[in-house]
Amino acid sequence: MTLTVTDLAIARGGIPVLEGLSFSLHAGRALILRGPNGIGKTTLLRTLAGLQPPLTGRIEGAEDQIAYASHSDGLKPTLSVVENLSFWASVFGTNDIQRALDAFALNDLADRHAGNLSAGQKRRLGLARMLVTGRPIWMLDEPTVSLDRNAVQMFADAVRAHLGQGGSALIATHIDLGLDGEVLDVGPNKAKSKPIDDFDGGFL
């Protein structure tokens, strides 16, 4: 499954942030997304995940293939770790959560309410969600925020295992994960065009 992006331009809040972006992401490969703050990494991931339309350009091979992890983990504080994970598993049509619990060392926390977890533990639970989606392309937005060194290693191992099974990943991060993926620096693609004149058109 290859994700191909051709001449993509995207906007955030009506202001173009990136343009002329082309790349492809092949099965079994990871792509590390880099660029300064505000360049549009999150907007790019949201666009690829289908949450917002691109200004111009084409995205192929993304339909129903992408598991997206945003800055927030989508956890319910009054549900337990297992309940949170089982919910997402059944949304994506499985009920196998054991692998995800093992991969992120969540077994000891299984019956704890998500509201009582530390920030790093919540993040681990949020990342464990990717494993229950069963989708081949992972889109991760700053996945290692608030993770300790040990947990970063757990995450890198999970990504490596995913790539080994023929999956692929696009990861926006500022740290070195030790993955042998190419780096996609979107810095040079910073949009030069003016803000959209036609506000209504931009909204639609």
Binding site: L51, D73, G93, R129
Partner: protein, 218 residues
């Protein structure tokens, strides 16, 4: 879809979930009305259907701003939008969960509160029937309002302003069914209108809600 419904029901019944908020409001309104209008039982039985309907409507309105806002705040709405579920079914399930946790308890509590307002005996069954037909429309319209205002800070005020006019037809025909039923008059016309409004909103509004939600999530 079942998983989403079960999760929402579970969340509603857990601590801080908001189940019982509407019910408590409904109880307070109906208990206080006899104190404010006076104890004449003939006056109370005249206004009972209208007061019960208005109380149920406002109780429903009270819980709307949490309907989608909580899922938006913790990011689950983004994740649900990228999940295999179509957004139309997500909003339908959300409305159904809201009805089960807010609308249905109001329907079940209404006959008991009718006693407090001296509702005439023939009115009880019509009150329950009219609320049973009308409350689903209130949940579906409310979900539409919540989808329109999701992501706005303090969107609750705007939500009430947007939703209240849309509630008016349901209120008029619903209260009319209960009023006519209580006085032993023919109820068929308002009952059919009420059922028609509910059927139309349930059939059409989920598509509108999903469409505005897609725009709001950008």
């Amino acid at each position: 879809m079942i998983a989403l419904l079960l999760r929402d029901l579970k969340l509603a019944f857990r601590a801080g979930g908001g189940f019982g908020l509407g019910l408590a409001f409904f109880l307070i309104v109906t208990v206080l009305v006899p104190f404010s209008v006076g104890p004449q039982s003939s006056l109370l039985s005249t206004i009972a259907p209208g007061v019960l309907w208005l109380g149920a409507l406002l109780a429903c309105l009270l819980s709307l701003d949490r309907l989608l806002a909580l899922d938006w705040e913790d990011g689950s709405l983004d994740l649900l939008a990228t999940a295999p579920l179509p957004l139309e079914s997500v909003v339908t399930i959300k409305a159904l969960a809201h009805w089960l946790t807010t609308g249905l308890p109001l329907v079940l509590a209404a006959p008991f509160l009718g006693v407090l307002l001296n509702l005439p005996v023939p009115g009880f069954s019509w009150l329950v029937i009219s609320l049973l037909l009308g409350t689903p429309a209130m949940s579906v319209i409310g979900t539409f309002g919540a989808a329109l205002t999701v992501g706005l800070k303090r969107g609750g005020l705007l939500l009430s302003l947007l939703v209240l006019p849309l509630y008016v037809p349901t209120l008029i025909f619903g209260a009319e069914v209960a009023r006519r039923g209580a006085t032993g008059m023919e109820t068929q016309t308002p009952l059919l209108m009420l059922a028609g409004i509910t059927a139309a909103t349930v059939a059409l509004l989920p598509f509108a809600s999903a469409a505005v939600l897609r725009i709001n999530l950008r």
